[in-house]
């Protein structure tokens, strides 16, 4: 090998006190290490921020956005976000009996369709011996001939119709179907579509506060209706306000149910673990029975048992039912942990050094089960939110009009095809919340699991 250049000092012995090398990794406590690991987990960290954001939304949101979630805006029903909010002033309603000739052929509008009324006239259709049936649909009439909502049947001679039924500013597809002498529908059909303009009469405008009392405005004046950032639901209630108030229900159950049943489980499990022997056997057998109860069926059963009186929201009964049914899982877990830790060498060592039971529990047992308990709670939160949503969705949860994300989904699903935002927003809130808690739980488990230490 190549001869190295070594100076004269090279072979001088080193004093052992000399610092030759230091350990490059600092030593960390359990929780410090866990926190560093959690911070390194980007998904968990983002989830944590999401959850904090959600709490701000829930508790500070209603302060900023002071809209009553129960208030109905009848001018804006099932409106998606960023919908057109203009409204045009028209004259007060006057009855119409088909008078006034309208140019054109076939099925036609008398005036441009508005939310005040839509007036139709049509020419005679072949084979209309028994008159006509008028339909309205929200969708174009396809080959399957779904005409939509039947509005009226008219005499053969009466070829006009005024629609004033719950008109919304959208596109309507009207069909008239000729009926034969026996009253059956024939193949003879005409269809027309029209975009409906939102209008308001002076008296209504005064009622909404758009016009001052005694003030008058020219017909055709445009006003802007109240803002609904996330749109409105099928009763014209503000979605944002409802989501904020619904979040309270969901998060209340999501936090308190796990907290309570984990607490009960910890107490029950520790007692079983400490008592041991026959007592432990009896306690755990009872827990096994409770586990065997079909969860959702009993949640529904309890809802019947704690019959909800008028005006009550049904939140507390649901909380109570969850606590009654869900504590055994934690009890089992904690008992297992206690039994395991009791046998560990460091407990015996501590005992040999004269530690009392209280000291053992506070100093060794609880800190060593904290990680597991924390992870259990984190995973219990999304499942409690899920359960609340599920029960409210099938109408067995909170009672209307109290908003909850689950019941909002239930209401939204009915109008899923026409106004999907009523389903999408609450569903999104549930999903994101559950997602955030699941990812945070994963992160916590990885961070707190001692077995994972030293691995990648």
């Amino acid at each position: 090998m190549a001869e190295l250049k070594l100076d004269a000092n090279a072979f001088a012995p080193i004093h052992q006190e000399q610092e030759i090398q230091s350990i490059s990794r600092p030593s960390l406590s359990y929780w410090q290490d866990a926190w560093i690991r959690l911070k390194a987990n980007r998904r968990a960290l983002i989830s944590l921020y999401l959850i904090i954001g959600l709490l701000i939304f829930t508790f500070l949101g209603p302060v900023v956005w002071q809209v009553d979630p129960a208030q109905q805006d009848v001018d804006q029903i099932s409106q998606p976000p960023f919908a057109d909010r203009t409204v045009t002033l028209v004259t007060e309603y006057e009855p119409w009996y088909g008078e006034g000739a309208v140019a054109g052929e076939g099925l036609r509008f008398v005036e441009d369709p508005t939310t005040q009324y839509i007036r139709l006239v049509w020419d005679e259709l072949p084979g209309a011996a028994g008159g006509y049936r008028v339909y309205r649909n929200l969708f174009p009439i396809g080959p399957e001939r779904a005409y939509g909502l039947p509005l009226i049947e008219t005499e053969p001679g009466k070829r006009f119709f005024e629609d004033r039924l719950d008109l919304q500013p959208t596109t309507y597809y009207y069909s008239i179907v000729a009926l034969d002498a026996a009253g059956y529908e024939t193949e003879s059909v005409e269809t027309i579509s029209g975009d409906v303009t939102r209008v308001i009469t002076p008296s209504e405008a005064r009622g909404r506060g758009l016009l001052a009392e005694g003030e008058n405005a020219a017909v055709g004046t445009q006003f802007r209706l109240a803002t609904h950032p996330l749109g409105t639901d099928y009763l014209g209630r503000d979605m944002l306000a409802r989501l904020m108030h619904g979040a309270r229900v969901s998060l209340f159950i999501g936090f308190f149910a796990p907290l309570l049943f984990v607490l009960i489980g910890v107490i029950y499990g520790s007692i079983a673990g400490f008592v041991g022997g026959v007592g432990d056997q009896v306690l755990m057998r009872f827990a096994d029975f409770v586990v065997a109860l079909p969860f959702l069926l009993f949640m529904i059963l309890f809802k019947v048992v704690f019959a909800i009186g008028p005006g009550e929201s049904g939140i507390m009964p649901m909380l109570l039912a969850m606590v009654i049914l869900l504590w055994p899982a934690t009890a089992r877990l904690v008992r297992g942990q206690i039994l395991q830790i009791r046998e560990e060498g460091y407990i015996s060592a501590s005992r040999l050094l004269g530690a009392k039971t209280n000291y053992l529990v506070l100093r060794h047992m609880i800190p060593n089960t904290m990680g597991v308990i924390l992870v259990t709670i984190t995973f219990a939160v999304p499942s409690a939110i899920f359960t609340e949503a599920f029960l409210s969705f099938i109408g067995m949860g909170v009672a209307p009009p109290t908003p909850s994300w689950g019941s909002m989904c239930n209401e939204g699903i009915k109008t899923m095809l026409t106004t999907p935002h009523e389903l999408i927003f609450p569903a999104l809130f549930i999903s994101v919340t559950v997602l955030a808690f699941n990812l945070l739980g994963d992160g916590l488990r990885d961070a707190l699991d001692a077995r994972m230490r030293g691995r990648e």
Binding site: F11, P13, Q16, I23, E456
Partner: protein
């Protein structure tokens, strides 16, 4: 000396881990002679297991990475390969047994089938033939009632019995080399002796070479002809069993001796541990890895890695104490050209 059957040259292996890159093996070379036993000794984490697992292709890649070196089996490099000349390496040319027999066998498969599997894969035996041969092999490994035992599952075996079954499995295809990675560490002392005897007997019958990894110098004395002493991912000393035991050429080897019990009644009865702990292989020291713990360390040791000095035929040590400019005298260390004084 005869042509070596396995020749490993300048092997280096790294692992990417949570805390950074670990340089687990840093330039290891050794030869294995046919029919002989090479022992690799060293403390936990010194890279013994990683060395042989890399040869077998068992290091998970990633996170593992072989950064340099080769391993010639009968002159052909087998690193990163599964076959040579159409023949399988693993299980056929080289067999391997592991430290913990309790976890090294598939819990849901009976013992006979696990042994038979090797024969089916490499020898093309039918299931029935293979199982019959498995029973013979269990018998050869001195397992009583082999017929009945072959149908049992690992959880019905004791640790020693499982290790015998592991050995039967490893030698099923009569490999040229058997790698035994701490085969007795997890076993009772009495069982240890039986397993070592079994390995010795099988070696005599089959003429295979054994690479024995251990940190038990008693096992080395009983089994090996050649010894490789590893420290911090490097070879610090290599030689025959007698060289290593009676003519230590490296302070680490010396430290191991002081830490080992003897049955010499005149010897000092206290064992002397080696102070300190091995270097952090995330940031291996620039110079000699043992420098921080060595009672004879010198300025040069801190930042210049020691070259390997040949002390006698087949006996080498990597330590600056053997440099001609060194004036420090350590009587226990054997130097080149010194008389053999055992």
């Amino acid at each position: 000396m005869a042509e070596p059957i396995l020749s490993v040259n300048d092997l280096a292996v790294e692992f990417d881990t949570y805390g950074g890159t670990v340089q687990a093996v840093r330039g290891v070379s050794f030869d294995v002679q046919p029919g002989e036993t090479l022992a690799i000794v060293g403390e936990s984490g010194c890279g013994k297991s990683v060395t042989v697992q890399s040869i077998m292709g068992l290091t998970p890649m990633p996170p593992g990475r072989i950064t340099s070196g080769n391993a010639l089996l009968n002159g052909v490099d087998i690193l990163g390969r599964k076959t040579i000349n159409g023949e399988d390496i693993r299980g056929d040319k080289i067999g391997m047994i592991f430290q913990d027999p309790m976890t090294s066998l598939n819990p849901t498969m009976n013992i006979g089938s696990q042994i038979a599997e090797t024969l089916i894969v490499h020898r093309g035996y039918s299931k029935k033939q293979a199982f019959a041969r498995a029973v013979e092999l269990l018998d050869m490994s001195k397992i009583p009632e082999a017929e009945k035992r072959a149908k049992q599952y690992p959880f019905e075996f004791s640790g020693g019995m499982l290790q015998r079954a592991m050995i039967a499995m490893a030698i099923a295809c009569e490999p040229e080399i058997l790698i035994a990675d701490e085969p007795t560490t997890a076993l009772d002392v009495t069982i240890q002796a039986q397993i070592l005897d079994l390995l010795n007997d099988l070696q005599r019958e089959n003429g295979m070479s054994i690479i024995l990894i251990t940190h038990d110098l008693g096992v080395v004395a009983r089994m090996a002809q050649e010894v490789l002493v590893m420290y911090a991912g490097q070879v610090v000393e290599r030689g025959s069993v007698d060289d290593i035991f009676y003519r230590p050429g490296h302070p680490y080897n010396l430290g191991l001796h002081a830490a080992m019990p003897t049955n010499d009644p005149e010897a000092e009865s206290r064992l002397t541990p080696i102070d300190g702990s091995p270097p952090d292989l995330f940031h291996p020291p620039a110079g000699c890895g043992y420098c921080a713990r060595c009672p004879y360390s010198m300025q040069v040791c801190i930042d210049t890695p020691p070259p390997t000095y040949t002390l006698s035929e087949g006996h080498e040590a990597a330590c600056w104490l053997h440099h001609e400019s060194n004036t420090q005298v350590v009587p226990e260390i054997h130097h080149a050209g010194e008389a053999v004084n055992d």
